[in-house]
Amino acid sequence: MLKHLFAKEEDIPQGSAGIFFAISSICWFIIGTGLGSFNAAKLGFPDFFHGSYALQFGHMRQVHVHAVIFGWIAMAFAASMMYITPALGNTKLWSEKLGIWNCLLYNVGLCLALALLWSGITSGREYSDHIWPIDLYIAFVMVVPWSLNVWMTILNRRTQGIYTTNWFFAASMFMLIIVFLIGNMPEFLHLTGLNEAYMTWWFAHNVLGLLITPVAAAITYYIVPKVTGNPLYSHRVGHLHFWSIVVFYSTPAAHHLMSSPLPEWLKSFASVEGVLILVPAVAYVCNILLTMQGRWTMFVENIEIKFTITGVLLAIPLNMQGGFQQTRAINWYIHGTGWIVAHAHLALLGFSTFAEAAAVYYGLQVLLRRKLWSASLANFHFWMLLIGFSLYWISMTIAGLIQGAAKIYEVPYVDVVIAEHPYMIVRWLGGTMVFFGNIIWLFNMVMTARAGDPVPVGRQPAEVAYTR
């Protein structure tokens, strides 16, 4: 990749940026889940690895969160956009060279950002933990060039309309930049007090709602029709999904602070809007599952569909939780407990990661024009992820319910800690499975690049998956 940095645009093979982003994302996935597993071990066995003080839980937790969000999820998004956007516009990426520079500077910036967080240099705000110089770097060096590539590719498309996936990509990148710059106002402008607290969660909510959820969905809007060969069930429902995301997902930020002294009208408003998130959610899930009509065998046979549809199925409990857990009736019970951690991983490690993994699997095969080196290893990876995730989700949900019960009975807190201990261990085991699965994945993808069978021109990797 690096040899292309100073090459002429015409000399850079198409898809280089996509490959670079895809491989980086897998590496960050390994690093991020490794850190997660380490943190989980610490919560199970607090004296595990003591003595290395840099490895304190309080220093490493946010490093895990940002490694998986910025490293894995966002880079997998970038990789997907770098190949899906041009494919849908029947054109090539606006600038491969920009893409490669973007990816390099992205990796460099992320390393720096995580190193600073690790050493405790933080803004003290959850999800906007990065200090403002890093925020500016992220916005203008990491995100703006990436968006530019997406927007310009769409503008230069050679098709009449814009397919659903591409509206989502273009709009989400725009919203990301706006949300990022406005959400970090507390730091840029030194906002204080409840304004600061509220804006922190405004950012956290919107970066999830306006970047991660819609882009992950947009990816599946591409992968499912492309691999199954079925047209998208309904573009109208796609419209409904898009517009209801913009309207309903951008408004409930205050539901993260239901038990804080924010103005009551704001909490009620957020809670109602939060339930309305079910509109895009239901529209989306139905649309994808109906697209599968007649091709359900592929759910078993095809690795990309297996990942994608599992993700979409996980979106069902995710949205049911999301819609209702922020109403006053339920929120007080589960707020601040392991339930929320379970929910966060259902969204990110469940729904979104499965969708992105499919996009990266598919993208690398298409860009390299090589068939997956080992379908068995890919299946193994799938099951490690699914079982690992399920262990994580179930154990943390139970831990959360225990904590919730403790709220009612007001037991001494340490009894809660004792009761949660077994679940902390299960969560650690589950997370570690995910980590090991990912190492296998990287190996499989490296072998695919080196030794995968070429996919004949004009054919899909899925069509030749089982031919030798």
Partner: protein, 311 residues
């Protein structure tokens, strides 16, 4: 091609997003900003200073640029005995919290009184000064610039102080060490009154940054921990190794906040301490090793001051 066919869509998108931001940022912003500070907010601002997260004046989060909270029982100027009270000392150059430098933070009458009775407008960061929190007859709290109103200088106040608390610097440790990933500073309105104490009110946060409520509770809420547990000895042992006092705790050890030497200037050997501790944990030794007393300028001292100050 471009987005031509999509003009209406783009306009609608812009309108929808702007409206959403108007409702979720501008309106709450106006509402929240109109809240007057409570006494708690004034005390917090004066305890924590300008900014506790990353900033120019303390880029590595070492607890610099922070005021010192002192307890007084005699008047620093005259030496006469007074009722026990707190004062907040800003050595010259220490940055002031927003409430002292912006007119719209304290809110309504609090601002008016702080300027008229409290004379806060004559304070400057270069000179530093001493502040107190008072209440007017009708119960409105306000900040008083005691250097002008009572003639208390920085040096005299520090000298007259019975006790100096580095709670401001301690909050920096709280942020840097990520205590807020496990502990919250926000008893919940619905059920925490009994166990963790009174939840905060709207006006309790004016001027504080960051607020570090925490969102994820794996440990007791700390907002009022100083009221239920005010033993410096217990906290010292607990921070050095929580499992000395609470065998089931999952809290990390914070022994490295002690620095290289203890209060008596003796070198702290964490590895040797550990050998004895492990022997004790196994039952080979009867007593646990002694926990060193933190040096007065150590980060551990700052953190403990912060915790004890959470009343």
């Amino acid at each position: 091609m471009a987005f031509r066919e999509y003009r209406i869509g783009c306009v609608m998108f812009g309108v929808a997003l702007s409206l959403s931001m108007f409702i979720t940022i501008i309106l709450p912003g106006i509402d929240i900003s109109s809240m007057s500070s409570t006494k708690i907010a004034l005390e917090k601002q004066l305890t924590y200073g300008w900014e506790t997260g990353f900033n120019y004046y303390d880029p590595f989060l070492q607890g610099k640029d922070k005021p010192i909270k002192v307890t007084l029982t005699k008047d620093p100027k005259t030496g006469a005995a007074i009722d026990k009270m707190n004062a907040y000392v800003f050595p010259p150059g220490t940055h002031f919290p927003d409430g002292l430098t912006h007119d719209n933070i304290l809110g309504g009458n609090v601002q008016v009184l702080s300027m008229s009775l409290g004379e806060i407008n004559s304070a400057s960061e270069e000179q530093g000064g001493v502040f107190t929190v008072d209440e007017s007859e009708d119960g409105t709290p306000y900040i008083e610039y005691a250097t002008i109103t009572r003639g208390w200088t920085v040096d005299a106040t520090l000298k007259a102080a019975d006790h100096q608390s580095l709670a401001g610097s301690g909050k920096t440790m709280f942020v840097r060490e990520g205590c807020w990933w496990c502990h919250t500073l926000l008893p919940e309105q619905t059920q925490d009154w009994q166990t963790f104490g009174r939840p905060p009110m709207v006006g309790d946060f004016n001027g504080e940054s960051p607020t570090t409520f925490g969102s994820d509770r794996k440990a007791p809420d700390l907002l009022h921990v100083g009221s239920r547990n005010s033993s410096r000895e217990w906290l010292t042992m607990h921070f050095f190794n929580p499992r000395l006092v609470q065998p089931h705790s999952i809290m990390p050890r914070y022994d490295y906040l002690w620095g290289k030497t203890d209060a008596d200037g003796k070198t702290i050997d964490l590895a040797a301490w550990d050998v004895h501790y492990l022997a004790y944990a196994k039952g080979d030794e009867v007593y646990p090793p002694i926990v060193p007393t933190p040096a007065p300028d150590s980060e551990a001292r700052m953190l403990i001051d912060f915790i004890l100050n959470l009343k």
